[in-house]
């Protein structure tokens, strides 16, 4: 039977880095796995991954607020590289072709 997905509040009054902490902690076991699987979906990863790392290395320059800060917060909570979080958040833009 279909079930409703769990509901969360993202408080936009909080600093960007803290907004997703509750969600990230709740899914700490699952999200790193999906990030690892999604990376395999990248087209021509020997070329695309370095380009994405370039964006991740200077995320505040390439991605507008509040997204850079929110992804930084998720990476910190999950103890993951910011590059992995950025990769999966840009997956549509990379894979739509």
């Amino acid at each position: 039977d279909p079930v409703n997905p769990p509901a969360f509040v993202v408080n936009l009054d909080l600093p960007e880095e803290q907004r997703w902490t509750e969600v990230a902690l709740k899914y700490k076991q699952l999200v790193p796995d999906i990030y690892a699987i999604m990376k395999q979906f990248l087209p021509d990863p020997t070329i695309s991954l370095p380009l994405i790392r370039k964006i991740a290395a200077d995320v505040d320059k390439y991605l507008a607020k509040p997204y850079a800060g929110e992804m930084r917060g998720i990476a910190k909570t999950l103890n993951m590289s910011l590059g992995d979080v950025v990769t999966c958040n840009l997956l549509y833009d990379i894979s739509a072709f």
Binding site: P2, V3, N4, P5, P6, A7, F8, V9, V10, N11, L12, D13, W20, V23, A24, K26, Y27, L30, V31, D33, I34, Y35, I37, M38, F41, P43, D44, I47, S48, L51, I52, K54, I55, K61, Y62, L63, A64, Y67, E70, M71, I74, L78, V85, C88, N89, L90, Y92, D93, I94, S95, A96, F97
Partner: protein, 232 residues
């Protein structure tokens, strides 16, 4: 994906969508509903995946609803190059969330989505709160390729978008459009409800093995919004 925007016999706009994607099983497990709140009040609501900060499904209450369907055009390296070289180019899911956050009505949301440069091409399906406020935007990287608006007076009381340009036939191997049209015609304009739309979106192959969630929403009736994780 399949998105349908429609106008019922009373002039109310409704919007339904299925999100289909690879990694289906794990995405079902991280599907979440998020109320984005300011000052303790919900500014907008999205259905998304844990760890994904952009939005491809959302509602700004009493203003508009919007969904994004994938459009596979161009080359991946061009998408990344645009993201790196053009500071004004927005990743698609960030643009949709920005629009939900900043645009106050259907018209301004449509303008923002249609005329913002994006890294990739895509379809946006939008519903508003007034008669006729429904549209499918076929978006190229630098502007709209086509804006297809509801026109109930001419008999176009709904529009179905999957992952192909609406003016071209869908590929024989992935025709979810015609089954969706058949289900909508069978339901009829006078019978639109949350339950009947859920049934339309549950019709194979509109719902298929890659469907992660279904959403029904109506910006003029924000409490209608409901999402279901699907396990066909």
């Amino acid at each position: 994906c399949t998105s349908i925007v429609m106008q019922d016999a009373n002039g109310t706009i409704w919007h339904a969508r299925n999100l289909d994607y690879s990694f289906t099983e794990i995405l079902r497990n991280i599907s979440i509903r998020v109320d984005y709140q300011k000052g303790g009040k919900t500014a907008y609501t999205g259905i998304t995946y844990a760890g994904y900060v952009g939005l491809v499904t959302g509602q700004r209450p009493n203003a508009f609803t919007m969904t994004m369907d994938e459009r596979d055009q161009g080359a991946w390296w061009m998408n990344i190059l645009i993201a790196i070289l053009d500071r004004n180019a927005s990743p698609v899911s960030f643009l949709l969330r920005d629009t939900l956050a900043m645009s106050e009505n259907f018209t301004s949301a449509l303008e923002k989505v249609a005329y913002t440069t994006t890294a990739a091409s895509f379809y946006t399906i939008m519903g508003g709160v007034r008669v006729g406020e429904g549209a499918v935007i076929t978006k190229g990287r630098v502007g709209p390729i086509d804006i297809w608006k509801l026109d109930a007076k001419s008999g176009r009381w709904y529009e179905v978008e999957t992952n192909y340009d609406h003016w071209a036939p869908p590929p024989a191997g992935d025709d979810r459009r015609d089954p969706a049209i058949k289900a909508m015609n069978s339901m009829g304009q006078k019978s639109i409800s949350k339950k009947s739309l859920f049934n339309v979106m549950s019709t194979p192959p509109v719902m298929n093995n890659k469907t992660t969630y279904t959403v029904v929403m109506s910006a003029a009736q924000p409490d209608i919004m409901e999402a279901w994780i699907r396990n066909p």
